[in-house]
Amino acid sequence: MDKFTSIQSKVVVLNIENIDTDQIIGSDHLKITDKKGLGEHLFADWRYLENAQPNPDFVLNQADNASSQVLVAGDNFGCGSSREHAPWALLDFGIKVVISSSIADIFSNNAFKNGLLPIKVSKQQHDFLLAHLGDEISIDLQNQRISCADQPLSFEVEAFSRYCLLNGLEQLDFLLGQMPQIEQYEKKYSKEPV
């Protein structure tokens, strides 16, 4: 996995609460057996009109925002289904950071493992960021700082996920390193293969 240190980008704002993973990537697109090409279908029901043309009113279709890497979304982003296709679709589209006042547990877990940084901010910070569509933002994971419109903000992030992102490490490798303890546990609790 690539190292994640800092990002500079414009902010794209999707101020809708409870954006669920069905909305991020519809179940029509879960029929693949790889991870490819999902960006095209990100937010498809909102992004495309009935004739399959881009909806000019949808924020990600507007030229100024199409290359944004930082998405600020309404409260409780990523609720619903456990589909990892949701972070795959966001990353494939070019989004590298999602910020909200609350982010669903499974989505958050899935995002970290793919190099997408989910950031939970306070209500006050959230309100501030929601008002800065199109402004430059920088995210510094090492120092856990956001800077937007000359305003510095700090954020909390789970320590291990941060460490893995900063160093480009796969969480799987850490788990594989625990194998002696895992085998010991299985022995202790009689959970070995019969």
């Binding site: 029929k31 589909r83 990892e84 972070p87 547990d105 877990n109 793919n114 594989l176 625990q178 895992i182």
Partner: protein, 474 residues
Amino acid sequence: MVATLFEKVWDQHCVCQETEETPAVLYIDTHLIHEVTSPQAFQMLRDNNLKLRRPDRTFATCDHSTPTTKPNSLGEYQFFGEQEKNQVEQLKKNCAEFSVPLYELGNQKQGIVHVIGPERGITQPGQTIVCGDSHTSTHGAFGALAFGIGTSEVGYTFATQCILQRKPKTFGIEINGALSSGVTAKDIILAIIRQIGIGGATGHVIEYFGSTIDELSMDERMTICNMSIEAGAKAGMIAPDQTTFDFLEGKEFVPKGKDWDIAVSGWKELYTDDGAQFDRRILIDASKIEPMITYGTNPQMGIKIGEVIPSNNETQALKYMGLEEQQNLSGKSVDVVFIGSCTNSRISDLREAAKIFKDRKVAQHVRALIVPGSHEIKQQAENEGIANVFISAGAEWREPGCSMCLGMNGDIIQDKQFCVSTSNRNFEGRQGKGGRTLLASPLTAAAAAVTGRVTDPRELLARNDAITEAREHG
């Protein structure tokens, strides 16, 4: 030291406890997989030249992309398209390559993953259970710690039988009192989600307890735990009791004879100790719950069936639904009724629905689709005569699968159609692009099917009672 049910199960499965730097290494007893969220995880094993460590703790079925129509005379299933067929075939190949037992299409033990786990006794109290599916919370009804994971974690579980987790907080929901007639487990959970909100339990494991829960069957407890995720919860749990043990005894995968007695005595220790504290706690009076129905685009947007849609500034949701604030849903014409899904496709759900369908017909403008959760349930419903009640009423009686809950297999509703559904999510487009889902219990769904409108099922149940009484008194 006193502990909650969750803490007892958690502690028993920590290979390494969490520290400030690292999450806990949590051992997984049972890993359930299906065709949609597993292919990339199998590929991860191949890419890293890894083995699937514990095929004996891994169980596979196909349910999401599978057709619910019968196979043709040659035994061939008619998939919606090539992608769906390919996904199911891929699962079969992957399971063969990595020696994972698979309940494949056509197998009499196949069904929705969260239905067959308990049905086969794969699900047991005190276990940790994961599956690449958010409704894995269902299995918590047995006092297991069960939750949905993403495909990366499916791969980690394949490779190590463990995942990395931060310890969630706990949320006690105490529910006391008797349920009124016509009120079901589905109404309880919809009422809870309405109260605490769709993100209300994020970061928490819910434990449900109280006199109402004690009286519920395992099917009903599963309905409640199933929708814990719709309040954002990591998992939902209910302490195992005699109802749990009676349900499990004799099932295929549970211990037998003396081992059964040993297992039960261990399971009896799985409860929240007196004095153990939840991080958060609420109390619910079950006698105040009435049949619920949703009007919006997430499961917290629910009302008692006779209430009007509240004025909550849910403009986008109401626009999508074609509904208005202060509108009464009762009497609203519906196009489709779906009875099924991991929430409400078990035998007791079908028995409830059959009470309404019996001696009635599906309204002429309504398509009613009834999809049992497993072959075993389908067979049982046919043996009990329930299937015939549905078929005589004019409903479609299908093969088991997830079906119209998320419409991956082609069972979908059309743009702007209203569907009263016993499933778990009313998200935009969930049951088909532009489709409008009203979540409700099997009783309420059946009532909509036979009247063609949103109807309080208690009206029809009362008529049933009146007819029975008239017959009894000649």
